[in-house]
């Protein structure tokens, strides 16, 4: 499958490679489900949120 998608990962290795993702994904999906539709993407990431003073 990965080869077909052009990812260069040997098919025999796919299960091993994606194992950490499989562990991460459910928790992440639960988080993502808490997003409301007004939450925008951090396109221009600004940790100061407009604050620039020391």
């Amino acid at each position: 499958m990965a080869q077909a998608l052009g990812l260069g990962v040997p098919d025999a290795d796919v299960t091993r490679v994606v194992a950490p993702l499989v562990a991460l994904e459910p928790a992440f999906r639960r988080l993502a489900a808490t997003l409301d539709s007004n939450e925008d993407i951090a396109v221009t990431f600004d940790p100061a949120m407009g604050e620039t003073a020391q």
Partner: protein, 445 residues
């Protein structure tokens, strides 16, 4: 340390050339064991030091970095010198232009003596590089220096240079600072130019110094930050009026006992110095870490896409992470960046209660080279995930964070204290760090 060297230069007790010769000689003696440097720039550094001595003789003084020997991590471009990024992909790559940070440091008079070793492509924390060999911790040659800026941490901790530049995508400055016993600053995201530095995570990468003291860090930041800033801490300042937050959740869970003890001692020292220590709950850091992992998994293969077909040129740990990232659905990355907006907004609220957070920089002291698991308070954990657990989320927030030594474990291995401050509050952060150094009795001359 830099200010001591600068005074000695101006008192004519030593010349720029002598300082640089001494650093090169020390690197020559120690590097066969430490593997801290991938490329030495000895001839050019000696020439430059002699030019800077001539400038002094003419009355030209570029400031506290004039004639000071330094090093830079080998994914930061220096014109005419190879930049490998710790990867055979770039074994023969020589940049036509220096990175902005290099130009700024050279303008300030610093002399680069060499390029330091790192975890392959800066994508990992051991600096056990399969292509260039492991960088070794000066405190125990059988242990990792941390990473990915492991060579920079080792070069500073071994006393070769007082400052070496690193980069930090999930803790890669603060982790080697913690394991090697030096000061490491991840500045606010975007404060320091990344032009001319190989990217790993476009929205997580930061450049900053690893140095011997907080004052050295401030001197460096003055040179590499834009404008004409003054980040140097107040001499003799204390912590009166500073509200120090001690997280009641997450950051003090699952630590080696010595790490917990040293960080709590630092909190007591801060209190003695006038700080008000406030125990408070922080937002869900596991959430920060999960989101940061998704962002980096997606951004790293995008940064390296042109090279991904050369699979035999990647080490197994880095290749596995890049492959995982390529299989990550685009929707996960988008959701991660949406979650990030919310997470930053919520984390900002901390600063209404406290001026900074004190946490351990790493849950453990330096692991042994080759270890994949480490005991953390009686539980075995994956070395990479355990080591980044306390630092990674701060990259997602973009807040500045300092790691500074706060003692050692029973084996004599350094313990790092992490101090996190609001965005753009580097001046305050470095003042607090300097006062903590003083309260802990750390020699800063």
């Amino acid at each position: 340390m830099i200010s001591g060297m600068a005074q000695a230069l101006r008192a004519k007790k030593v010349s720029c050339r002598e300082l640089v010769d001494s650093a090169i000689d020390r690197a020559g003696k120690l590097n066969p064991e430490l593997n801290a440097f991938l490329t030495m720039m000895s001839d050019g550094a000696r020439r430059r030091a002699s030019e800077l001595d001539k400038e002094f003789a003419k009355g030209i003084d570029r400031g506290p970095l004039h004639g000071i020997p330094i090093a830079v991590k080998d994914l930061i471009h220096v014109r005419g010198v190879r930049t490998t990024a710790g990867s055979p992909l770039f074994n023969n790559f020589v940049a036509d232009e220096s990175a902005d940070v290099v130009l700024r440091l050279e303008k300030a008079g610093a002399v680069i003596i060499g390029k330091t070793g790192l975890h392959e492509l800066a994508y990992g924390i051991t600096s056990n590089n399969p292509h260039f060999g492991p960088v070794r911790n000066p405190h125990d040659r059988g242990r990792i220096p941390g990473g990915s800026s492991g060579g920079s941490g080792a070069a500073v901790a071994a006393g070769i240079v007082p400052m070496a530049l690193g980069t930090d995508t999930g803790g890669s400055i603060r982790i080697p600072a913690s394991f090697c016993g030096c000061v490491g600053l991840k500045p606010t995201f975007g404060l320091v130019s990344k032009r001319g530095v190989l990217p790993l995570g476009f929205s997580l990468d930061h450049i900053g110094p690893l140095s011997a003291t907080v004052d050295d860090t401030a001197i460096t930041l003055n040179a590499i930050a834009p404008g004409n800033p003054d980040y140097r801490p107040y001499a003799g300042g204390d912590l009166r009026g500073v509200r120090v937050g001690r997280p009641s959740n997450f950051y003090f869970d699952r630590l080696q006992p010595a790490v917990a003890a040293r960080v709590d001692e630092a909190l007591l020292a801060a209190e003695r110095s006038g700080a008000q220590v406030v125990t408070l709950a922080v937002p869900d850091v596991e959430e920060w870490n999960a989101v940061a992992r998704v962002v980096l998994l997606a951004e790293a293969p995008a940064a390296l896409e042109a090279h991904l077909h050369q699979r035999d040129k990647f080490g197994p740990d880095v290749l596995a992470l890049l492959d995982q990232g390529r299989m990550l659905p685009a929707t996960m990355y988008i959701q991660a960046q949406r979650l990030r907006s919310r997470i930053v907004r919520e984390a900002q609220k901390l600063w209404t209660q406290v001026d900074c957070l004190f946490t351990p920089a790493t849950p453990t002291t330096a692991p042994e080279i080759g270890a994949t698991e480490i005991d953390v308070g009686g539980t075995s954990e994956d070395v990479r995930l355990a080591t980044t657990r306390l630092s990674r989320g701060i990259n997602l927030l973009g807040f500045p964070a300092l790691s500074l030594p706060c003692g050692s474990d029973p084996a004599g291995l350094p313990v790092g204290l992490q101090i996190v401050a609001p965005a753009m509050a580097e001046k305050k952060l470095l003042n607090i760090g300097c006062a903590v150094e003083r309260a802990l009795g750390i020699q800063t001359a």
